[in-house]
Structure formats: structure tokens, C-alpha cells
Symmetry: C2
Subunit: 317 residues, 2 copies
């Protein structure tokens, strides 16, 4: 049976193999994605982001157990733009999954910058498509917060959960406009720690001032993920947001946003390719030296590079 | 007198005006940069990064005061990829500068995603060029850490300072390979807080395991930026790193890296431009809908978009 049929039939080994082909941009990846793309579009995709140390992994595991108890299959993509390690078989990944590691209704994959040729965000979008086509009911995209790369990844989900904890320095600094705008749910994890109530008040005050989503109030939920406390309310909150998306037509908007983000990333990778090999690369490196030694300014150098690739071969009359 | 001459003569208002033209990609910006680029290359450029709440602003102000006492002029670029606000005249910027706000030997500019057309990192590189050409002895690029955007900005400096504080969750999570590799100096700020010694030990142990820079040992320095404690040692550490760069020839390598990063960003912006206006934009938006509605997969859509722009107009025989 061809790889794509095995993936669609729920074969986990085939899925892992397909994802590797996709992420590493192997030749087999392109036709695979073309075949899987029309079969995707059924899963609910949840993004989970927050600074290092807020307990995202614990929360992901708790949410996964909650959905498993409800009979739903769950796939997890852990995206780490700061890590050089990619792959699904790392010891640390198996440890953090605990008893879930042996559950056939759960699939885990980690993605990192260096393992993802052509951009981490583009690779994440493709992996989500494969997981979606493979029939998972829920897909969690877990990512480390604050940078543009993370914001891009988050535009690929239906619902975005931003995780905070009490006592992490200056709350105003940490949760500026960018984060306020992408959050569909706020979760205050480690809510049994000192300062949780104050953080809740601060966040509520900030949400008051932020632009509102029409017909939807962003909730601030409290959890202690290590003891599953509050996990039900997060799952309920995600259901409520999903209902809002369907009711308001925002569901379609999010799909468009996901497609747009993915196309932008891929277009970028494709357009830059001529400057990353052969004569194009040599011309690029020569321009780098000219700019560094201040013979040409960067904008002039770029104009010359682009003109070079657009030159037509001489025409015979 | 033309704007460029006024900038080179040290006119601060002209400089602010030039930077706005550059960042907003006004038509006047291009010739300005072409004229300023050959005059730059004299300043020492220091990057300062770390998570929100570690005291980067306080440390920047303390370092600036230190250099001012030594008779050096200082320009500061505060880069915030999470903020929608850009510009040099914000109330918050003036407040954080305190007494430095009225010092003619100090120049401050903040940059944010939405104010920087064509990419925040590219704009940062151009602003640094303008400040360098304007004759500042030291330029501090202050940025919020962890994401790819920040790592990109940091490749534009000579020396990179990574700021940590005790008690910020899981140290191993927070300071992975990406951060270890870009740091030339580690600063443990708020070193009078509990856990500072333990953090120092952890960082020292991690540096033991990290790939070494030949002929240079990355120092771990302790500061209490609010009382200027340890600031001398940071300035000394930066001098030592600068000497190392000159001695080892790494100075030239960093200049090449800065040029390469800047060219990549600009090239990207230029190549994507045909898809951001007119018929190209319409074709792009149609592709977005096709992908969202699963008629075409993203990779197929991108191939078609690129083929479209490369079509030649019909040729008259």
C-alpha cells in the first residue's frame, strides 16, 4: 500500500515516516502533501504558547489526558525555535509524555529550527496538515512565546492559549499588544503560587483596555497542571471558542489566515532558493563582501542581485 | 545643507529625520543610506538581550552612564518585535532614559514590528548604519530574547550580552543552544536576589559543555543595575571581547555576518514585493482561498505563483 494510503488509514509508523519526508523536504514530501492536503480540514487545532518555565508541557499532557478520556485522538507538535534538536524519538520527548507515550491514540512530534528546511513555521503548517489528514480529532501546537516566529506559528491554529504564571517579573513588559492580540484564552498556571490573584487582576485590567473580539470575551482560567486542577475549564473554554468561531464565521477567516501564512513562508523559501546555490550563491557572497567592506550599500547590492537573476538570455533576431 | 551632511556633522534633529525616512522606507531613505553606508564602520556595536523583566533597560542606562563618564557618545536602539509602537518620542521612552534624555551625547530610538516596513531586522541594520555614520562611539541594540527575530538582530552586533536573573523558572529550558551560541558575555542581573549563586554555577556548568570560542572564554558577570554595581566589569568585559575580535580577526568575520544578515532580509523583502501589490497581490489572494478551501495544496500554489511572475511578455518577431 502506498505511504499516503497508509497514513490515511491511521498507520502511525507511516505517519512518522511521512512527516520526516515533509519536514526534511525530501522529494517524496511534495506529492505526499498534495495528496494529504484535500483530506485535511477536520481537526481542531489548538496553539499553546508562553515563556519557558510556565508549564506548557505539563498542561499539554493534562489536556491530552482529558481529551483521551472523552475518546478523542490527540496529536502534539512541540515547536522550539531555540532548539537545534528535531525528531520524535528523543529520550526527553518520551519522558515528558509519560504514560501517553504508549497510547496509540496519541502522537507526539517535536520540531526545531535546524531540522526544518525552508522555515520552521512552514514545516509546522505542513506537519499539521499531515496530522489532520491522518484523522486526529485534536492537534496541539506547543511553542515558546514572545518572538515573531512563534506569533507566525500561532496564526496556524483555530484557538490560541497563552499560558502565564505568577511572579515572572514585569507583567506589563511580558504581555504586550502582540500577545494580547493572539490570545483566545489565557491560562494562569501554577495558580496555587503566590501572586496568582494579582496576576489575574492585572490580566483582567489589560483585557479591559485591549481591542475586543466581537461576540467573544477572552477568558482568564486558572490551572495547576501538575494535579489536573482546572484542566476541565480549559477544555470547556476551547469548546466555547470553537462554537464562537463556527457561529461567527470566524472559522473560515482563521482558515484563510492559516493558508496565507503558509503561502507567505513557502513563497519566501522558493524565491530565495536561487541565491542559495551555484552562481547565485557566489554572487550573493560577493555582495556580502562588498557591503562588509563598504564598497556598496546593502540596498544597492540587493537591487543588483535581483537584476542579475532577471536578466534574459540574449535573443537571436 | 543637505540632510546627509547635517547627519554627518552630528545634527541630532537631522539624524532623527533620516532614521524616520529609513525605517518608513521613504524614497529619500535609499540615497541617504547609500551616502551614509561608506561613512559607517567606526562604532562598536553591542547587543543586549534577555527575557522580559530581567532589567535590560536599567542595564542599558547604567552602561550608557558609564561610557558617558568616559567621554564616549552612545546611541541606543531598543528593538521590540512584540510591540506595535515605534518611534523616538514616546513618553515611556523619555521616562526610561531619565537624565540621559537631555544629554546631547546620547541618542535613543525604539523600533517595533509595525513601524518597520520590510522587516524589523533589516530596519535595525539600517538604523545602526545611520548611527554609526553619525559618529557615535558606542551603539547598544537592546532586544527581547528567545525568538528567531532576536537572534537575527543579534547577528548585527560586534558583542552580544545575554542578561539573566535568578529565579526565572527552568534555567535549562530558558538557555538552550541558541542563546549559548550567540552570547559573548553573560550578565546575571539582580545578583543580590536569592538564587544568584546557583544560577552562576548552572551557567558555568553549561558553558563547560558548550562549544568554545577559540582564544576567548565567555565571562559570567554579576550586576545590580539599579545601583550601578558590576557595571564597570561589564564595560571591561566588552573591551576585552573587542580586543579579542581585533586580535583574532573575528572582527572581520562579524562584519561579514552583519552584511550577510542584512542582505538576506532585504532580498527577501524585495522578492516578495511583486506579490504584495496589484495583479500579483490578487493572484496571491486567490491562491490563499484555493488553499484554504483545499482545492490546491500550498506547495502547488506557490509553484504556480512563481511561474506566473516569471512569464515573459509575448515577443514581437
Amino acid at each position: 500500500m502506498a505511504l499516503v494510503e497508509r497514513v490515511l488509514a491511521g498507520d502511525r509508523r507511516a505517519l512518522a515516516q511521512a512527516i520526516t519526508a515533509i519536514v526534511e523536504r525530501e522529494p517524496a514530501g511534495r506529492p505526499l502533501l498534495a495528496a494529504l492536503h484535500p483530506k485535511a480540514g477536520r481537526a481542531r487545532i489548538v496553539g499553546l504558547t508562553g515563556a519557558p518555565g510556565v508549564g506548557k508541557s505539563t498542561l499539554t499532557a493534562a489536556l491530552t489526558r482529558h481529551w483521551r478520556r472523552a475518546g478523542l485522538s490527540v496529536a502534539i507538535v512541540a515547536v522550539d525555535p531555540t532548539s537545534p534538536f528535531s525528531g520524535g524519538a528523543l529520550l526527553g520527548d518520551r519522558i515528558r509524555m509519560g504514560e501517553l507515550a504508549t497510547d496509540p491514540g496519541v502522537f507526539f512530534r517535536s520540531l526545531a529550527t535546524r531540522g526544518a528546511m525552508g522555515g520552521l513555521a512552514a514545516a509546522t503548517g505542513d506537519v499539521v496538515t499531515a496530522l489532520d489528514a491522518a484523522g486526529f480529532d485534536r492537534i496541539i501546537v506547543e511553542t515558546i512565546g514572545t518572538g515573531q516566529a512563534e506569533v507566525d506559528v500561532i496564526t496556524m491554529v483555530h484557538s490560541c492559549v497563552v499560558v502565564l504564571i505568577p511572579g515572572m517579573g514585569d507583567g506589563v513588559q511580558a504581555f504586550k499588544a502582540g500577545i494580547l492580540e493572539i490570545a483566545d484564552l489565557f491560562v494562569i498556571n501554577k495558580a496555587d503560587h503566590e501572586g496568582a490573584e494579582r496576576l489575574h487582576e492585572q490580566m483582567a485590567a489589560m483585557l479591559e483596555l485591549a481591542p475586543k473580539q466581537e461576540g467573544y470575551a477572552v477568558p482568564i482560567l486558572a490551572t495547576v497542571a501538575t494535579t489536573d486542577e482546572g484542566i476541565d475549564s480549559v477544555a470547556d473554554g476551547l469548546d466555547a471558542h470553537w462554537q464562537h468561531l463556527l457561529r461567527s464565521g470566524k472559522h473560515h477567516e482563521r482558515d484563510l489566515l492559516r493558508a496565507r501564512t503558509q503561502l507567505q513562508r513557502l513563497l519566501q523559501a522558493q524565491l530565495l532558493a536561487p541565491f542559495e546555490q551555484g552562481a547565485g550563491e557566489a554572487a550573493f557572497e560577493a555582495a556580502v563582501r562588498d557591503v562588509a567592506e563598504r564598497r556598496v550599500d546593502p540596498h544597492g547590492a540587493v537591487a543588483a542581485l535581483v537584476a542579475r537573476t532577471q536578466e534574459r538570455p540574449p535573443h537571436e533576431p
